[in-house]
Symmetry: C2
Subunit: 394 residues, 2 copies
């Protein structure tokens, strides 16, 4: 009988994962994931780019690379993703990662000692809560409203806890779909500087905007160099490629690089080179423009279905982009119980809200719906099924 | 001024890395890496496989996958890599990783608490020492001889320290090229069972054998289910793809999976699917057979050059495979100093031995030479250069 380290014993794979195994059932319509639409993928372009890369640079594609990442990708990110957002970086500000999850993990590795207090939105991304559990951080939740994290509460909690790190998903947040307002973006940067706290600005959804005006990242206001900005190709090109980027000060990047060396030496070259070439061919803006109406239709369909089919007492967010809608039922409602009925009896799935909370006793009456992964027909059908599961429980 | 976590402050990127930056100099002949030969790559096959995968299964290639790994790869590993070594696994015994480094990192995450004592060969893989530094393990070195780790010393140190984990590279070890004998493989499994210790059997070089008979992995003798066996596609197909595998008991795999979820969600699909298809097409045995004579020529060339050009007092290993030769000079010799002269004045590089030691005060008189990455001509030329660097220092 082997004895595991505390680190992994602290991380609870959670009841959600167990229930997700049920979803292997092909009859289930799932609003549970966070996937981009299969219809958004461009396999022919990826195929052509890959063939060209393996023809022109076979050794570079197949041999070892550097921990900091494929240089053409770091350069293409600076030019085609950061610059249009008004950000100026040098290569020394960028490392590439094996998906954004690794950016979160490395940043936490680099800044959070066991027992340190960290601040997160309530609710927040459940995988990040798992990483915090792994390093035994003391996770304190900051209140949110429709404009994202409340910076008055953030200020109070920074003061009260001496937290070293703030984790935020400012745009079309996971799980709520909410977006941090411009003023609050400035406030977060200011408060971090004032308290010497590091900000992980996890922004994988920012380019999936279907209405309203784009907002500058918190990183734009980061005069004190405290912000680590994470971007990802998962939602805009392909999650299966597992490519993300980290932008941070030239002081921070080497420590993240050391952590990455310990984690996987470097990210696979071919996926990085595919993303670089995709950007350098200037394909991203057109792709975002052409996929936005498809996603907007899915979002609008789901919002209309909530209105049509779900209980009148359900409150829900109306995001301008991203992939999630957040639903809140009256106190006493149990979304976990709903999930069991929904998956087993009505063949529809979602994620209950409790695991997105620092204290999993919170948010039992909430749930997350993903609208990006299913076609409008499936959304219509799935939401009708979900209405039956609600009816059975209420 | 941000404040980093102890975890990353403990990991020293080491003087070696600084010197390696000099190696961007294209005139330098490097025996410093651990790379397979560019000449071993099969870009046309990879290209054809990739095109087929993206044509036949575009969504599966580009969408999210599971943390445990691409199922056809787990199955192909069981059939084409484990089975020929006499090992029988179920899918529940296997997860795929982003290179073997991640297998090392996840295993250490899952089993080593801060301050725990772990046992390693002396010398051992320097990246593993970095991961142990990150978790603040107490690393105790076990003596080696020509037959690998001395199991009498291992027994004594298990007894004396109560170590929870043994890390070993049994075949064509990094950095020495030595191979653990059959009897000792059995002993390691027995001793681990006796002391309730976990064994990380890191075996990325085992299929690069150029002479002698293949030996069964330690995992073959693992009646107590204590051995975590790591294999890698880096040396046999391509390191740039970053694909490795972990084989362990069905009790251990879920904890490694939790650690992997925290690390990168999952490994990129396309590289995993390429490796699966490569195995399923039955290409590996022929590839190993056809590359072995090339590697053997490089090994023999380097051994002959050591004999011809290097100081007579140099002792060195004569491996039957792998990619490394280990050189030991008399006490008092400083390989780090040699490296400075060699790279700056004579344009040849290697890795000094000290960083491969748990106590970096050890092994200053040793160095590691890689023979797989350079053609015989380059080896000849590089070794002549190295002889001049030696002459300048002695």
């Amino acid at each position: 009988m082997v004895q595991f380290a505390d680190r992994v014993n602290r991380v609870n794979p959670s009841a959600v994962r167990e229930i997700f195994k049920l979803m292997a059932d092909p009859e289930i319509i799932s609003f549970g994931g966070g996937s981009p639409a299969n219809e958004s993928f461009e396999p022919d372009i990826i195929k052509e780019i890959t063939a060209e890369l393996l023809t022109k640079q076979p050794d570079l594609m197949l041999q070892y690379g550097t921990t900091e990442g494929w240089t053409p990708l770091r350069d293409a990110y600076i030019e085609h993703i950061a610059k249009p957002k008004g950000l100026a970086f040098d290569r020394g500000n960028i490392i590439t990662t094996t998906g954004s999850t690794q950016g979160i993990s490395l940043s936490i590795d680099a800044f959070v000692n066991e027992g340190d207090t960290v601040l997160v939105e309530s609710p927040t991304f459940l995988a990040t809560l798992m990483v915090f559990a792994k390093v035994n951080a003391n996770v304190v939740a900051v209140d949110m409203d429709e404009d994202g994290m409340r910076t008055d509460d953030l200020a109070a909690k920074l003061e009260a806890t001496g937290a070293r790190l703030i984790y935020t998903i400012p745009t079309f947040q996971n799980p709520t779909g909410r977006t941090l307002s411009l003023e609050r973006r400035k406030d977060v940067a200011k408060l971090a500087a004032l308290h010497g706290a590091v900000v992980i600005e996890d922004d994988p959804y920012c380019d999936l905007r279907y209405s309203g005006e784009a907002l500058p990242p918190i990183k734009s206001f980061d005069d004190a160099d405290n912000v680590i900005m994470l971007n990802s190709f998962s939602k805009i090109v392909s999650p299966g490629l597992r490519v993300g980027t980290v932008a941070a000060s030239a002081e921070i990047i080497p420590k993240l690089t050391v952590a990455k060396q310990c984690s996987d030496t470097h990210t696979a070259i071919l996926p990085q080179a595919i993303c670089a070439e995709y950007l350098n061919r200037g394909l991203l803006p057109g792709h975002l423009k052409s996929t936005a109406p498809m996603y907007k239709e899915r979002l609008d369909t789901m919002l209309a279905c909530i209105e049509k089919y779900l209980p009148a007492e359900a409150e829900y967010t109306r995001p301008d982009g991203g992939v999630f809608i957040w639903l809140t039922m009256p106190d006493g409602f149990d979304a976990q119980e709903l999930l069991v009925t929904a998956t087993q009896k009505y063949k529809v799935a979602f994620v209950p809200g409790a695991p997105f909370h620092a204290d999993p006793a919170d948010g039992k009456n909430t749930l997350r719906l993903n609208f990006s992964g299913a076609t409008p027909d499936k959304i219509e059908e799935g939401m009708q099924r979900l209405s039956k599961a609600f009816a059975a429980q209420l």
